[in-house]
Subunit: 306 residues, 2 copies
């Protein structure tokens, strides 16, 4: 995988590696970081392309909520502080750098990480700044900050894969060549153990009819739907694998629910589309009892609505 | 994972393990196999539940096209022979046992495998029959048989996981308990290396608008679609990871395309739903040139239409 492949989409600035810059390189100042083409803005923590992905972030301890575990970083988005590095006084919004980081999640677009000396001493340089290579923005969620207002948090995972391919530099927008005989690689992931009978039951109760849009996908051997966890399994949501935490959704509504575009209002029966404002009634069979705390969790942490 | 969990859906006959029957057990005759509750019909190769999954198959060399690799079996569906074990004179159809095996693919439902002495000598018992444990039905496709007419082929993979859980015997239809704190397991899979820039380009060219149903999923940070390979990557289709072999589809149409419910007619521009008969024109930007051989491959091998 060419990790700077997004440049094929002809972004105005390079995504992924900067030719000739090796992870671990130290810089005395933000200005040196900027001149190395690692991070464009002289002050802001997030460098991004309007209507596109994030390019890079500088982590230097500006947010009380940030957590650095080396290969994994829990990063807080931008905005809503009374002064840079100050108290959170307003909700953060899906705009500017935050929007770009969510775009990066959606597009699997890598970002460059630069750590400054103000960050967690365990992983930060003693002075100045250090380029620490590429990370994927794995997911995002909303959370109440220590001082109250909502912040947007991102889980970043270091890309451990060695990138040996020649950098792709074409910005012409022409079709990439691809691969006529793509090879294989072994991928080991830590998967949550799900009990398939839990989702099977929810889908069966609703006869594979989407609880949001009422569509039923018809196949040659029956019908098809997906089981969508309301409060996601595993980090960071740690939801339960139980029927009260599952919905029967069509794949399209499942995507929009997981992205927090669709959510269930606090009457526990109205489905709202946060982009279009459209709303409709949740289809719910009586035998299928939902966990209202899980719904509230999704509404706050995934949709960012209180 | 409880591999007999489908019994929660209150099927008339047990899916998965039969209590007390250990893989490797030998039987002198089909009648003994039947009395052990492993396989119900006295003659037919596939035991299945009407409108439900397959329960078990007996492999004993009846089809010239079957291939046995031990942990992996390429199994040919039923029907269309002039006599049992004879010449293929008619196309096989998505009915009876074939339909049930496709249902098993869709529902991740395990089937019991019994090998008879007539099968591949490398993996079959010398005499009589042997219960060889549970397999998943991984996928299915259509293929021209050695003698001409279409057959349906299934890839079965042995379930290597040890099943230690207590068998689930409830057939009441009540909600399964699930798991409030589901654990993790490491899963290693052999994944095809995809170049994400290939799918990115196809999605960008179509502005994330589904080439089949014209829907565009709108998120908070843009739009969303999936890249669907026409001729699938890897076994058994061995398609190319190139823009000419990809479509920009919404998740719903992607599912129906992969299941062969939607396919592109031999005019290379009409999208047909094989269940409803509905058809519409493919959305196709001029710059996006499609591989007509890949379309023909999908039409034959996935949709079963010549």
């Amino acid at each position: 995988m060419a990790l700077n492949s997004s440049s094929r989409l002809a972004y105005a600035h390079p995504i992924g590696e900067i030719a000739g810059v090796i992870p671990g390189t130290l810089y005395k100042s933000r200005e040196e970081v900027r001149l190395a083409k690692l991070h464009r803005p002289p002050m802001a923590g997030i460098s991004y392309i309007t209507d596109g992905p994030a390019e890079s972030i500088v982590i230097s301890g500006g947010y009380a909520d940030d957590e650095d575990f080396g290969d994994i970083i829990i990063y807080t988005g931008q905005g809503g502080q009374d002064s840079p590095g100050g108290k959170q006084v307003k909700d953060q919004e899906v705009t500017r750098g935050n929007r770009a980081l969510i775009f990066s999640v959606d597009h699997g677009s890598p970002i460059r990480i630069i750590r400054g000396s103000g960050g967690d001493p365990k992983y930060s340089p003693e002075t100045g700044y250090r380029y620490d290579g590429l990370y994927f923005v794995l997911n995002h969620w909303f959370e109440k900050s220590k001082s109250g207002p909502l912040v947007i948090r991102f889980e970043l995972n270091r890309i451990s894969e060695l990138v040996s391919e020649t950098p792709v530099t074409s910005e012409s927008g022409e079709a990439p060549a691809g691969n006529a005989q793509p090879g294989r690689k072994n991928v080991t992931t830590s998967a949550i153990k799900r009990d398939s009978s839990v989702a099977d039951w929810v889908k069966k109760v609703h006869n594979d009819r989407c609880q949001f849009c009422s569509i039923t996908l018809v196949t040659r051997v029956g019908t098809y739907s997906t089981g969508a966890h309301i409060q996601g399994l595993g980090r960071p949501h740690n939801g339960k694998d139980e029927t009260s935490n599952l919905l029967c959704l069509c794949p399209n509504c499942h995507v929009l629910f997981d992205k927090g575009v669709l959510y269930i209002a606090n009457d526990n029966k109205t489905v709202i589309n946060i982009v279009s404002g459209e709303n409709r009634l949740l289809n719910l069979e009586k035998i299928h009892v939902l966990d209202e705390l899980a719904i509230a969790h999704h509404r706050l942490q995934v949709a960012g609505v209180e």
